[in-house]
């Protein structure tokens, strides 16, 4: 894994929104209420999971991510509430 400055607060609070198609990230936490949490878990996205960002719809459209062999579309508002760290996730 690339060297990460663990004390860089911007690095710590990155959300899925800041990444581009082709990137792999690991979910740290959800920055939202119980409604959002249970919704994401229902779609198989848990903290600790690896997400692969597949594509973005144009004009501020949603993100398409792959997580646990399921493909989920996430609106930008949702993507901005998923706190992630960049992680190549090679094991998967």
């Amino acid at each position: 894994m690339a060297a990460l400055d663990i004390w860089d607060i911007n690095e710590l609070m990155k959300t899925l929104l800041q990444f581009s198609p082709g990137d792999s990230v690991r979910v740290i936490d959800f920055n939202g209420g119980i409604n959002l949490r249970s919704k994401l878990i229902q779609y198989g996205i848990h903290p600790g999971d690896c997400l692969r960002l597949l594509r973005k719809a144009p004009l501020g459209g949603p993100f398409l991510v792959e997580c646990n062999e399921r493909e989920i579309a996430l609106g930008r508002g949702v993507a901005d509430k998923i706190i992630v760290e960049s992680d190549p996730c090679e094991s998967h």
Binding site: I41, G60, P62, N68, I72, G75, G77, H92
Partner: protein, 583 residues
Amino acid sequence: MRIALIGQPNCGKSTLFNQVAGYKAETGNFSGTTVKFTESKVRVAGEVVEIVDLPGAYTLEAHSPAEREAAGYLRSNEVDVIVNVVDASRLALGLELTLELLPLNKPVILALNMMDEADRLGLHIDGPGLQKELGTPVLPLVASKGRGVKGVFLKALEAWRDGFNRKPPAGMIQARAGDACAGLNYLEDASSERHGLARTLAQKYVQQGERRVSLRDRLDDVLLHPLWGYAILLFVLFLFFQAVYGIGQLIEPPLLAFFDAVTRGVVSPFGSGTLFSEIIVGVLQGIAAGIAIVLPYLLPFLFGLGILEDIGYLPRVAFLMDALMHRIGLHGKAIVPFILGYGCNVPAVMSTRTLEEPRDRYLAAALATLVPCAARLAVVFGLVAFYLGPLVAFALYLFNLLVIALTGRILSSLMPEDTPGLILEMPTYRIPTLKNVTGKAWFRVREFVVEAWPILIAGSAVLAALNFFNAAVAFNWLVRPLTWSLGLPAEVGVPLIFGILRKELSLVMLGQALGTVNFDTALSIPQMVTYATFVMFYLPCLATLSVLRRELGTRAMLAIAALTVVVAQIAAWIAWVVTVALL
């Protein structure tokens, strides 16, 4: 002995069941519930075995009654062996259910299905390793091609004969089971714990080789393309509407001619002009209105929608349209009611059910009823396109979109968004089956027939009776403030009221009301545009109103009805001002 098949949705469990469903397939009702499990008797190595196909479930932590029933059944003494079918290409997901099944103290056979698909994805699964770790038999399976089926059931039989003496699971599960409670102090402890364990297991026993680009990826590259995706979407919608209108125009005229003939035939013995004959005409008109909505438009629409749904295209549409829908305060999933609205508002309102948040359902239903349906298209064409040219009609449609967008913005600012936004699974593409599509279409049509049609017939009879007592004049005076403010003649009141029954009547009865079918002699150009614009927006038809009430409740229905009148009034007024200014 009885074997229960269980697995997550789309794991190929039913394919396996159909492979073996032998000489006596039957659907059984279990323990006094209405939940139906399919059961079949099969001969395995000389032994007659009963196989029960349980409905697909992601977890045993059941939420719906059907799931609860399945979970309870699995725990009961009626099941001797559990065959857990797992999609080998999604092992991490499938194992979550397996980890729930293992503690049930019954022999569990883990059948890794779709091994061919996993191989295509470049996944190498260490079956023996997994078997050792779980302490339960793990077998490969390609149910669609019938490979490995026999092995699974022989193993199940063997497990039953040996009795239940599962080897204790090795290292990881034992260790993890212990610290499950002490583990993550998280929202859904048990679920998260299983999830983590399943993932770790999958990581340990599945090796990712080279992934071959699948058909799905290639299709998505085109269908979700920032440019081609939208071009194809437009083309698909064009084909869809072309097909539905084509079918509708083929069916509707002979249907209406038939009902005209029937009405004349039924009424003539009683002589026209009596209260009785008028009411009969009203009832027949209500029946005809129902059939004229259902057969030509609703049925082809629902059928076409079912096909798009089963192929897996609708989620792609939602993905493409999400950005645009956000501008009017909704998200991508709400595009479906809008598309449907152009055919008929009834299925449009029904489809708002797929939205999770009540606020979204309300907003989408309110806006979808402003979409001009096929019947309102007839009014716009018969009046505006016929007398003023198709360009003006087209301009009216654009104006309609603008009004909907504006209304959406205003409404959504009044109802602040508290929804998480779009979270939607993109399923794999599938070939739709006739049985599925017709089943769904029938289910939705039945709702219309039961809920909306009787109201339509009753309303039609009441209006006919009022008409008989010369209440038509009263109608004209009732809506006179409205027609006066729009600069329309008082006579258009009756066609407007009858339009609530069926929108075409606003055009059909206009001739009667004005005393001429050459509308340009009775109405000025601005009046025609104003009238058409008002018809485009005001009160949804009775069928739509009753579906609104069913989906959202009486209060919401009344609120939406009031909203449409206000919007229609303002829009018609703007249309009048613009037309006068342009002339």
